[in-house]
């Protein structure tokens, strides 16, 4: 969908967007109500027991660690922590749900009333058309010259529940239920602790939704609560989207979009829905309240079923567990356990190392990246922090991207990068040589110092040695020397290049430059 189509629609309509984000607490080694291990995949129905299979007579026993993780997640997103809460049963029949009810939370979630501030800059700024002019008293706050802004997204609640199993439909196309002859069900995932976060409908653009989800992922990663793997489904983002004419106070009919397994899909699916709603309304139709499925290949959403069943979940308090009480001291104790969160880390990188905001954010948003950065800086010294950042956001990022690996799996460790930067700083090798050394280290995992030794790449900075080479070059090119001395000083680079070639790239560029200039002068 062309971007200007979205902009055109947003000129007339305001989008109202809320997100529901399910995150598996992968930090918990065991399931929510039994001792089965939590892991992705595996042979079907091998990580199950009477409890998570819902066998007759089995009872749930709550996983205290998962509850603590949820409280930590709430504390990290400015939520109030309920001092008294309980689980409820959410009842509906579905084959992937062993008990035919899900143990979830209803009116007494562990966390409620929080917020996350997101900052929008770059391309996404253009989607927010109501930012210019007088800002409302409460609303987006301009934070950058380019129109970048910060906006606060309210968090209604975070509650804890158990995940369902997984259905595999056999005989239909692409595993969909339509046309399937039968279905298989795998309960390995059933009972995995699942946090559900619901936002207020405070989001106005697809980009804000994307930034919120990215920010939330960064916070969850900083806490270590989940691996937040959207492709494997450990973080799942659903969006409720409606539009209304600008100036209208009444909310439009919403659709719920599911199956976005990347941040880009989240953005694109919401943009698609906004335009779809607008087109329905423009043509005099009414938006149907329904659940829709995002097809990333076709870049469109489609209704899951023509007739929505109105569910009555018959919530009631889970009688197999006693209610939970937290005393304020315990909440304070958990708050003390909160690690540094991405925004604070970013601000510290900007203040302590003078990094530009964009670089600081990129390093701070991922916990492992931040740890790598800090480890390297710790070895090489604060003054070289910018060099470390440049390497990480340049060559290292490109490498990770090309290999599709996480920073923790990179062959070039933080210690190796620190060593490499040190070799450049003390003049042992040139910046150009450093790129070669990095590439070699990334290929072999050898230490930069060893690579430099093995290849004899040690940079020559001795002016006397360089002078001899320069003199040789000048002697070999009398015509060019005359032309230079005649005023064509642009030939300097030619001489430097010749010298470097003679020195197989090992001449210290600064010294070579200085010597060439002097001998020509």
């Amino acid at each position: 969908m062309p971007k200007d189509r979205l902009t055109e629609v947003l000129e007339r309509y305001e989008a109202v967007i809320g997100l529901e984000i399910h995150t598996e607490i992968t930090a918990s080694n065991t399931k929510m109500f039994c001792g089965c291990p939590v892991a992705f995949g595996g042979e079907p129905n091998t990580r199950v027991c009477p409890v998570c299979l819902g066998l007759p007579g089995a009872l749930p026993v709550p996983n205290e660690a998962a509850i603590e993780w949820t409280v930590l997640a709430g504390l990290a997103t400015e939520c109030d922590i309920a001092l008294w809460s309980q689980f409820h049963r959410k009842q509906y029949f579905y084959p992937d749900m062993p008990k035919d009810y899900q143990i979830s939370q209803y009116d007494l979630p562990f966390c409620s009333g929080g917020f996350v501030d997101v900052e929008v800059d770059g391309d996404g700024v253009g989607e927010r058309l109501d930012l210019g002019g007088a800002l409302p008293f409460v609303g987006p706050e301009a934070v950058a010259e380019d129109g970048g802004y910060r906006t606060r997204i309210g968090i209604t609640r975070i509650h804890l529940e158990e995940d369902t199993g997984k259905m595999v439909h056999v005989g239909g196309s692409e595993g969909r239920i339509a046309g399937a002859t039968h279905s298989l069900v795998d309960f390995n995932r059933a009972g995995t602790p699942l946090m559900e976060l619901v936002t207020e409908p405070d989001i106005r653009t697809p980009e804000e939704a994307r930034r919120f989800a990215q920010k939330l992922r960064a916070i969850w990663l900083a806490l270590g609560v989940s691996d937040c793997n959207m492709e494997e489904g450990s973080m799942r983002v659903d969006a409720n989207v409606s539009v209304r004419l600008r100036g209208s106070a009444e909310l439009g009919v919403k659709s719920e979009v599911k199956n976005m397994n990347s941040f880009k899909s989240l953005h694109d699916a919401i943009a698609y829905e906004i335009v779809r709603h607008a087109e329905v309304l423009d043509s005099g139709g009414v938006v149907v309240q329904e659940t829709r499925h995002w097809d990333a290949g076709a870049k469109r959403t489609s209704g899951l079923r023509s007739k929505e069943e109105a569910h009555d979940y018959r919530y009631f308090p889970e009688p197999d567990m006693v209610p939970f009480t937290f005393d304020p001291a315990r909440v304070a104790e958990l708050a003390d356990r909160l690690p540094e969160l991405p925004d604070a880390r970013r601000d510290r990188y900007m203040a302590d190392y003078g990094l530009p905001k964009r670089d600081a954010s990129l390093l701070a948003d991922d916990r492992e990246t931040g740890c790598y950065f800090e480890e390297a800086v710790g070895l090489v010294g604060d003054t070289d922090a910018r060099q470390i950042a440049n390497w990480m956001l340049g060559d290292l990022a490109a490498l990770l991207n090309a290999e599709g690996i996480a920073i923790g799996q990179a062959r070039v460790t933080a210690a190796m990068l620190a060593e490499l930067v040190g070799l450049v700083e003390d003049g042992t090798i040139s910046g150009k040589q450093a790129k070669e050394v990095f590439a070699e280290a990334a290929r072999t995992g050898d230490a930069p110092g060893a690579i430099v030794e093995d290849r004899g790449m040690r940079q020559v900075s001795d002016a006397g040695a360089i002078e001899a080479v320069v003199q040789g070059v000048l002697d070999a090119h009398p015509d060019e020397v005359a032309t230079y001395r005649g005023g064509k000083t642009g030939l300097l680079g030619f001489f430097v290049g010749q010298v470097m070639r003679e020195m197989r790239g090992q001449g210290n560029p600064a010294v070579v430059n200085e010597v060439v200039r002097r001998l020509l002068g």
Partner: protein
């Protein structure tokens, strides 16, 4: 062999006989199965016999004795297990077509503890389907008959567990009590029947009916026997989050403390309920006199909120049951129609065929009570009534150590006599409030009805986790009345 007459011997006598070498545990098992062979065609207390498990347990006990080891407290004591409790090596059907042929894949904690204490698991006992009923007439596999009169019901839902003890097929048995399902059949069969405090015994492995009400408890021929069994099965269980951490009492040692100084309250307004047989009412007053004669301080108390007990119970119980029984959907186990067109068809027909009429009635009641728009009027109101009942009991236990009521309004009735559900539900009017409040209570035999010759039960109720006081009072009463009910069927072995 002939030395072992389980209709006469108490569990403690069996255990002592095994310990002293008078007979072996294997011989006890032989005696139990011989007795079953003789009388269970008539009584139908058992759905399944577990000889392999029983003889395995007996051999373990005999080997311990041969080795000179100290024997566990229930060594060689034959026990019946209600068929809603899982035990590997047996089926757990809950007397339902829905679970016909369902093999247990893990052990119920209470059953495991009983066996670990040396008991012999003789077999699985008949019950009302999923514990819905008060007569065992709702079993999909045929009713159990009362050993006192085969034309009468043994009560329910734990009718098989009561009958197997009353008829001398086992010394003790385990039942489960959601609204009276242990105490009511205890009263109707002349056995001692204990519902412990909610949380006293783990519920792990008993198929849930009303999760906030269910409690496993023992049947026996004496107060001492149920105290022995309770010591074996009580205590916190990491598999049940509602099991209580309170330390387990020395119940058997509390029994000879007598009733002197005990504060005993007759629940006058419950006694005066319409529909309570005059002779039953009189038996409670006589019991009070007995306590007074033993030196207890006897008084009277009213529990006005308990008049809402039946109504509250028939909202909360079915609401929880409708949810607990959802898992019987034909997907993973249990009855499943072979020719379902789609998943909805599979659910609806499998459940309609698998569940009996009373189960369907309770599921529908509970589903309705929890539905949007009705929740506050039904479930919410019922919880308020429950809170008031809890408060009534709390206030009463500030004044009294134990309370007395009848266990049931009348004696065992004839098959088919209570054909409309409401009349049947009324049979539990005295027992239900105790489940709603979570207290412990025991039914002890208090006499025989002069007309029918059927046993009458006295319900003694105590505060939460006051089982020592409860059983002390029951033992004092038992000793004073010297009433040893032996049903005709037991007296005249075939």
């Amino acid at each position: 062999m002939s030395a072992i007459d389980l209709s006469v011997l108490t569990a403690r006598q069996v255990r002592d006989g095994v310990a002293s070498g008078t007979f072996s545990a294997r011989e006890v098992a032989d005696a139990a199965y011989a007795r079953i062979e003789a009388v269970d065609d008539d009584v139908h207390a058992f759905l399944e016999l577990s000889q392999d498990l029983a003889y395995e347990a007996a051999d373990r006990v005999d080997a311990m004795r041969a080795a000179g080891d100290e024997l566990p407290p229930l060594a060689g004591v034959p026990a019946g297990i209600k068929d809603n409790m899982n035990l590997v090596g047996t089926h757990t059907t809950c007397s339902s077509r829905m679970l016909e042929g369902y093999e247990s894949v893990y052990d119920c904690t209470a059953v495991r503890r009983l066996i670990d204490a040396g008991a012999l698991p003789i077999g699985k006992c008949n019950m009302d389907e999923f514990a819905f009923g008060s007569s065992t007439e709702n079993s999909a596999f045929g009713p159990t008959r009362n050993p006192w009169d085969l034309e009468r019901v043994p009560g329910g839902s734990s009718g098989g567990s009561a009958a197997c003890v009353a008829a001398g097929m086992t010394s003790i048995s385990l039942g489960s009590d959601t609204g009276g399902s242990i105490r009511q059949p205890g009263a109707l069969t002349g056995t001692v029947a204990l519902k412990p405090t909610y949380g006293r015994v783990s519920r792990y492995g008993v198929v849930a009916f009303g999760s906030s009400l269910d409690q496993i408890g023992p049947f026996g021929k004496s107060v001492d026997d149920v105290a022995l069994a309770l010591e074996a099965i009580a205590g916190a269980d990491p598999m049940d989050a509602t099991s209580a951490p309170e330390p387990v009492g020395r119940y058997t040692q509390a029994l000879d403390l007598g009733a002197e100084g005990l504060r005993v309250g007759i629940v006058r307004d419950m006694l005066d309920l319409e529909g309570c047989a005059a002779e039953v009412r009189a038996s409670v007053d006589m019991a009070a006199e007995t306590f007074a004669a033993l030196g207890a301080e006897v008084g009277e108390v009213d529990l006005p909120a308990t008049r809402h007990g039946l109504a509250a119970y028939y909202i909360i119980g079915p609401a929880e049951a409708s949810s607990n029984l959802a898992r019987f959907d034909g997907i993973r186990y249990g009855h499943r129609v072979p020719d379902a067109a789609d998943v909805i068809d599979l659910y609806t027909r499998s459940r309609a065929e698998g569940f009996g009429p009373e189960s369907i009635r309770r599921i529908m009641l509970g589903t309705y009570a929890l539905s949007a728009g009705y929740y506050d009027a039904y479930y919410g109101q019922a919880q308020k009534a429950r809170t008031r009942i809890i408060e009534d009991f709390r206030a009463a236990f500030e004044r009294f150590d134990v309370l007395l009521t009848p266990t049931t309004p009348g004696v065992a009735f004839h098959f088919g006599e209570k054909s409309d559900p409401y009349t049947m539900y009324l049979n539990d009017v005295y027992t239900i409030p105790v489940n709603l409040a979570g207290n412990c209570a025991v039914s002890v035999p208090s006499g025989l009805c002069s007309g029918s010759g059927m046993p009458i039960g006295l319900q003694i109720i105590a505060d939460h986790f006051a089982e020592e006081t409860l059983l002390r009072a029951a033992a004092a009463f038992e000793e004073a009345t010297a009433f040893e009910p032996v049903p005709p069927l037991a007296r005249i072995p075939k």
